[in-house]
Subunit: 659 residues, 2 copies
């Protein structure tokens, strides 16, 4: 069976399921929790500064010098969001993700909106981070330039396979490279500052280029257009905030005191991320890194366009080149650490996405069978869905980070905003119950912080929507809307079914069918039929009929002869089949039976072959399957499958059992 193969493949790729109680062993100290939860947030310095620079560059060289201001604005938002989420962590020590907070405090509608936004944003995290990682790889190995989409594709596929195999216990694996990344970026910043102070800081490779402003920006950043561009630069820079919420989902994984440790880690994360962002933007300005959307048309060197084949490297790479020298060992360390951290950032999505999926399944928004978190089914389906979504994006946008960024962030800020509003409500409700003055004061303070957080994130959300809608955010919003509708429909369906099936006064658990009428389907007289006959008789029905359909006169005579030779104490009824067809005569027979005695229970015994190979399934049981499907539509009819295990099924059973 196909299932057997799939299961065997799954066993190799996925490994065994975890026990519930194993969860307890994975409690994390802060020094491990930080790198695990930080990679997503920290990795955004690999592309966020570039997006700020190239957006501003549309208004010419002088506009680029405003980038520190934009960076400052991003930092302010970042620290505000961190402060807000520290309140979430204290209020929901069980790990209230944005979905749960919105769902609980703002209702189903808001909850599902946040869930859709988060699902889409997980997909974008993978697409953006992997595309950016591919760019860093081409920075280190220039001959790969132009192959970013392929590299990112391979990256996603490998990461998906690794996750299907299971890497839960790899916490320490995450720690080392994340710390190397932090050290290399912060170290580079310190060396850069030292060089600047001592007057040794060089100029970036792109410092000599002049920038041709886009049409309408000849005057620089002025007027409404200038303000709009500034907001656009800010929106793109806000990509630095993605992943900040990760810690709030992970509180239960912290060592005790969970909330306190999580809040401290969150604060650390905010400080480090801000410092790195500030460092990169400072160095980009100090070394005059120029980054534009399209180097061929926007750059001039001595008044003439650049020669063909100029490759624009990301800011971090240009800075490292300036400070340490191209091809130096520290340069490669910085670039490699950045690439690795981006892959890790993608990986956090591979952990978060299936977990959110199982929570949604638990709430009836996704198929129920995905709901058990411990089960690998939800996990592997989630991994596959996430990888597929990311691959579609990477291939559609040719792994172009700048284009993908336009889709990003809108989802993040939808969930930020909803979550903060939810928290404001949460504190309001708590305040009604709290009596203790000190507690009330703490709550009021938290509520104030969350209010500020809500205002700030709502403002950013509006800015992001205005500046990015046309640029691509509409695609992300459309995807969220579709996901929302699908999940809403699934839930509505489950609710309807639950209502339809609810036990009411009509349904008496004591009313039994008057009689049981058993029907045995016979094709050839072989062992499986005899077993089915034995089972049918063992169930002592009120009446037992054996029936066979006459398709081929010779075969039917043979069957009848065999039946009589065995002296079976049940008569064999032969059904005529004018169309030489199997299913319809049987259905007609059963329907007649139902008409004659509608209060009886009819049990149809079908002998079935249990086979071991997928192709055997194609050559057996097909007619049985069609009969079963049809019988299922008849009320008052129960189908009893009597399996006969063919020898070939033994290996398949073994595979099933070790599963």
């Amino acid at each position: 069976m196909v299932l057997t193969i799939l299961n065997a493949v799954k066993r190799v790729l996925v490994g065994r399921p975890f026990r519930n109680d194993r969860m307890a062993h994975t409690l994390l100290p802060k020094r491990i929790a930080l790198p695990i939860f930080a990679s997503d947030a920290l990795s955004s310095v690999a592309y966020a500064p570039d997006e700020i620079l190239l957006t501003l560059a549309l208004a010419g060289v002088s506009a680029v010098t405003i980038s520190p201001l934009v960076g400052l604005a991003v930092m302010v938002v970042l620290l505000t969001v961190v402060a807000s989420y520290r309140q979430n962590v204290h209020a929901y020590p069980s790990g209230g993700g944005d979905y749960e907070i919105a769902n609980e405090n703002l209702g189903k509608f808001a909850g599902l909106t946040v869930a859709s936004a988060l699902l889409v944003d997980y997909v974008l995290t993978v697409a953006v981070s992997m595309s950016s990682a591919a760019t860093y790889l081409t920075t280190a190995i220039p001959s790969l330039h132009g192959q970013q989409a392929m590299i990112a594709t391979i990256g996603v596929v490998v990461l998906a396979l690794v996750n299907l195999r299971g890497i839960k216990e790899a916490g320490s694996v995450f720690a080392v490279p994340t710390y190397i990344f932090m050290a290399s970026i912060l170290g580079m910043t310190l060396v850069g500052i030292f060089q600047a102070v001592t007057g040794q800081l060089g100029q970036a490779p792109s410092a000599a280029f002049t920038i041709v402003p886009a049409p309408g920006f000849d005057e620089g950043l002025v007027g409404l257009a200038g303000a709009f561009l500034l907001l656009r630069a800010f929106s793109s820079g806000a990509a630095a905030l993605t992943g900040v919420e990760a810690i709030s989902n992970g509180v239960p994984n912290f060592q005790k005191p969970k909330s306190k440790n999580a809040a401290t880690t969150l604060l650390l994360l905010g400080i480090i991320a801000s410092a790195m962002l500030a460092g990169i933007i400072y160095l980009a300005n100090a070394t005059k890194v120029h980054i534009v959307l399209d180097p061929a048309t926007e750059f001039l060197l001595n008044g003439r366009p650049l020669p063909e084949g100029y490759i624009q490297n990301p800011a971090i790479s240009q800075i490292a080149q300036t400070i340490f020298g191209a091809g130096s060992i520290p340069f490669y360390i910085v670039v490699a650490a950045t690439g690795v951290i981006l892959v890790f950032a993608s990986n956090t999505a591979f952990n978060g996405f299936p977990v959110l999926g199982s929570i949604l399944a638990q709430d009836g928004y996704l198929p129920r069978q995905l709901r058990t978190r411990g089960d690998r089914l939800a996990f592997s389906n989630g991994v596959l869905a996430l990888a597929a979504g990311a691959l579609v994006l990477i291939l559609s946008f040719n792994a172009d980070v700048t284009k993908l960024i336009q889709l990003y962030i809108v989802g993040v800020f939808i969930s930020f905003t909803a979550s903060q509003l939810g928290m404001v409500r949460h504190w309001g409700r708590e305040l009604k119950l709290a009596k203790d003055k000190a507690v009330r004061r703490r709550m009021i303070k938290s509520r104030t912080i969350n209010m500020i957080g809500f205002g700030m994130t709502a403002l950013v959300l509006v800015i992001v929507l205005i500046t990015k809608f046309e640029q691509g955010a509409w695609i992300a919003l459309l995807a969220m809307f579709v996901l929302f509708l699908i999940m809403w429909s699934i839930r509505a369906h489950y609710d309807n079914v639950a209502k339809e099936l609810a036990v009411d006064e009509d349904s008496s658990p004591r009313a039994l069918p008057t009689r049981v009428h058993a029907v045995l389907l016979v094709s050839h007289v072989r062992k499986p039929v005899l077993r089915a006959l034995a089972y049918a008789r063992a169930s002592r029905p009120s009446r037992l009929d054996a029936i066979t359909v006459d398709i081929n006169a010779e075969e039917t005579a043979h069957t009848l002869a065999d039946w009589e030779k065995l002296e079976i104490p049940v008569p064999l009824t032969i059904l005529a089949s004018p169309y030489r067809e199997t299913v319809t005569p049987i259905m007609d027979y059963i329907k007649n039976m139902r008409r004659d005695s509608p209060r009886d229970l009819i049990v149809v015994y079908i002998p079935e072959y249990v086979v071991g190979k997928w192709w055997e399934q194609l050559v057996h049981n097909q007619t049985a399957l069609r009969i079963k499907t049809r019988l299922h539509f008849e009320p008052g009819v129960m189908v009893a499958s009597v399996p006969w295990q063919l020898k070939s099924s033994e290996e398949a059973k073994r595979l099933q059992d070790i599963q």
Copy 2:
């Protein structure tokens, strides 16, 4: 369910099944039978003469003048084969196809070889005829030139749809165009002869071109290479024989006396086909039609290559142009009639392929459920398989008739040869039994004819294999080999299963399981569960257990409370699930039960939702399906599906019922 949609689509496309007894109404008089069975054989004059001409042209203009000789050889073979099949028709009035004759007289191995060859050749008939039809369409509408592959693809798809819908009773539809085709080709020949006699016959458009011989053929048709080329031309011309065997399959469809009428029709077919072939080749020579493989390199006009864009039309089209004038009405009639007859030729394959498939299924070489000829299942699967195969060939070879011809015919001659050898054996066996002198004399005469037929077809088969193997026949042979292996394996599998399942002395039809132990699977306490409970209790098992798996403590408590509230007289057992997984705890419970009382029958009652839409299937029953699959591997366990018809299933039931 997907099945529902597919069935609805199928109903619209395919229509209702036929009754067995409707067969009797379709007995055919000779004047209808001839066009129905003749289109395949007659249509080959649309391409066979071209293949002879272009193969000979490799040795230059003078070699082309030998084409009447090659044509004569093909005619001799054609008439010999016709004479031989007239014997088949008399010996097997029940419609002994080549497969049955080979199977019965030469054994399973030969039979299956012939079957594989025929299946492959049906696919090639469609590919070659449709590609040729597309060429004729571009002859009439030159602006379509270069689009043959697309035209042929559309043709195959439309023909497949038409056949899925059913066109059984379209006998008379076939008659008119076939007669028009015969009349137009034979009429054109007469007009051409008249023009030649009166000195009015013009020169073909390609008459002025000189042909550049291929390397090694500067001397013309001499030496071994020349002989080989001659044989290759003959092999390609032998394509004219395909379809001759069609009448021998169709004897039961003739009016009485069936055999005599069929034999007469076969003779008529042979005479008409020979006359048409002779006419076309004569006219091609008289008007100096020059056809080559590659006009750009092989043609010279006044010593220089042709201007780009020369379109080489088939011989019939060039002849019609010469005799009637380009763009004249008779020209269009000839070209259109040829195109239509080629489509009809493809259609014969769409009738023959599924019938052969159902015969093979009856003999256990294909999945059993395809065996009933009356059922549309076999028919529609056959149509789809044939269309898919033809499309692969058309697209792989870009609808190039000359390339496709290289794959063709080898299969036809394999079945001709095997069939004739089978007939020789048949007469030998009959002769042993026959006493009457006149009868014996007739049999000896028949055997002699079949011997000559065997010798002739075997010789042609060897020639075809030698001259075409490298050109593409190996692909056809490989496909036959693969088909042979698949069908052989299916049969071997069925034989093994029959042996494994045969009733022996150990299998007593009276031994019953000691006790019946019923297990009811409970998830929520809803109506379906209560129905399953009622059915389980109505079957009066020796013992009845209800079990539920504890995945979520809250839900389990809820279920238990509901259960107790209803005062159900069966205790509910709660199974722990350390992995929060549903299937494994149930399997463990059942296995324990089996270990405790191995001689009991365990009946597992599973409530199932019957849904109406395919996506509902995705959100329901998935866990039940997994449990059922696992339970099937346990001996002594029977699964009873208790269906609960959701409201949404009503429309699906209605669709199933009208089916």
